[in-house]
Amino acid sequence: MAEKTWIRMSGLGGQGVITCAHILATAANQEGKESTVNPFFGAEKRLAPAESYVRISSEVIHERGEILKPDIIMIFHPHVITLGKCYTMPFYEGLQPGGNVIINSDQPLAISKEDLEKLNQMQAKVFYVSATQIASEVGGTELSTNMAMLGALLGVAKVVSFDAVKFAVQDRFGGKNFVASGSTAALDDVMKSKFAKVTQLIEKNMNVVEEASKRVEEYQL
């Protein structure tokens, strides 16, 4: 059987959910694994629900579209849960037994007892990370929230190595391989304007990844 890790990322438009998925999948490919990534969003606008799906496998992946049975769910913004800004309700819908949920929040969210009980029954593990705060502190910009989430993922499950992530960030922002279009290009320009050189952008973002991997904490259900 193929060794598979299916990851669903839920966030808000502009947070970098799609870029994060792109970087993770590029890293997985760099390590010789099979990986595909695709986004799901409505009419593009900031703060509207946006999801991205990363499939990593030891064998060729045929399945397409949204991931209905994720092993790992990453929640980029508390509103995904508290305001239901999400394509899947409840946010843990379809999580596989023993799966992980990683939430970006400075403090545990007011998740209902019923939901917590269900997560417990599924033997799920819930983790919190102050991704936006870490992005501001270490990366100097909230735009690195997605990289902090990626770091938290590595802290929870070693799906790819730090070196592969570094390669992928370099490929995405420093190489000539990627041509951003539309609002992604505009956000890329803002991101790049925060740093004097692309090498600094990569270094700072890798610092964010490493810091977040250390600061992600399990929440006792």
Partner: protein
Amino acid sequence: MIEQKVMDPQQLFFEAERQEVFITGSEIVKEAVKRANVDIAISYPITPQSESMHLVGDLYAEGYVKEYFRGESEFAVMSEVIGAAMAGVRVFTATGGQGALRAFENFPNWSGSRLPLVCAFMTRGLNAPLSIQPDTLEMAFMLDTGMIILHAEAAQDIYDMLLKAFIIAEKTDVHIPVGVFMDGFFVTHTRDKVKITPAEFKLPPYEPYSSPIPVMDMENVPFRHMRDPFVMKSNFISYAAHASWQQEVLAAAERSRRYIQQYLGGLVEKENENADILIITSGTAVSQSQEAIAMAQQEGIDVGLVKIKCIRPFPTAEIQQLAANAKAIIVPEFNRVGWMCRELKSVIEDNTKVVGGPRVFGGMTMPPEMILDEIRRCTQ
């Protein structure tokens, strides 16, 4: 313009070295057009197509495409490409969903005018209610426009089918448009590995004198009928012209079969086709079926798969032969009307064994488990 070397199509498709890249479907459209020696591309945005024609615009800026502009509407663009193609140059455009339907009047006009246009259709749900998500319903409308219809399953198909579409469309004995269809988001926005040829090589230019009809000659058919319609002179002549001309357009599509065989290796692909249960479908439904078949195998159920790559002309003989010994044929589809099921039922002799479905529509993916349920039912 950027200098590229012309490579013989056969060599470019089958012999040129290939490099693996990890890019989205929209980016693959750009890579294919970059190597297609396109003279003019005309665009109008609609999700999920917008990004691809934006990237083709970048090709114009970079010097790979000679002319490029954004039209006033989908209807305008699909009319403007007629003018460009009649002038005798290689033309590319793309649309999808409502965009395709808005421009619809032009499609039979493309075929009737024998224009070798290549258009990428990135499918999306049709209003109402509003959707931007994938759904192949628009393909049901396109089946009888006279154009050749190819349906890409995944990333690699987009690259190969787009490049080959130009060569098939421009054969003198074909010379009708080709629509290369791909499922929006599932294919256009999915980042996947694709093997592509070096960017320094491109297809030979379009040869306007390969056209079976005179280029933009207002004194001869079919263009003469624009300024001087037969029907204004004599109903008899008009009937006669239509009767022969419409059959000629259909015959042109029939004549494309051997080129589709040559370049795409056939109108269908098959795996384990002697199994009692067969899945026959196209596009993303093929990918989802692959997963379902792997799950069925775990349960000891043997299932074969037929991927239809070319829907017009329809692989009638191939399907009749493949279906002859199957006990059940499952047809998963990403639309509510089940047009592929209708097509299959119209050619399979004992069509009571055709199971229409499962079907999903409006943008959700099709869980492989839905197909597996249908497989299990067929074993009972």
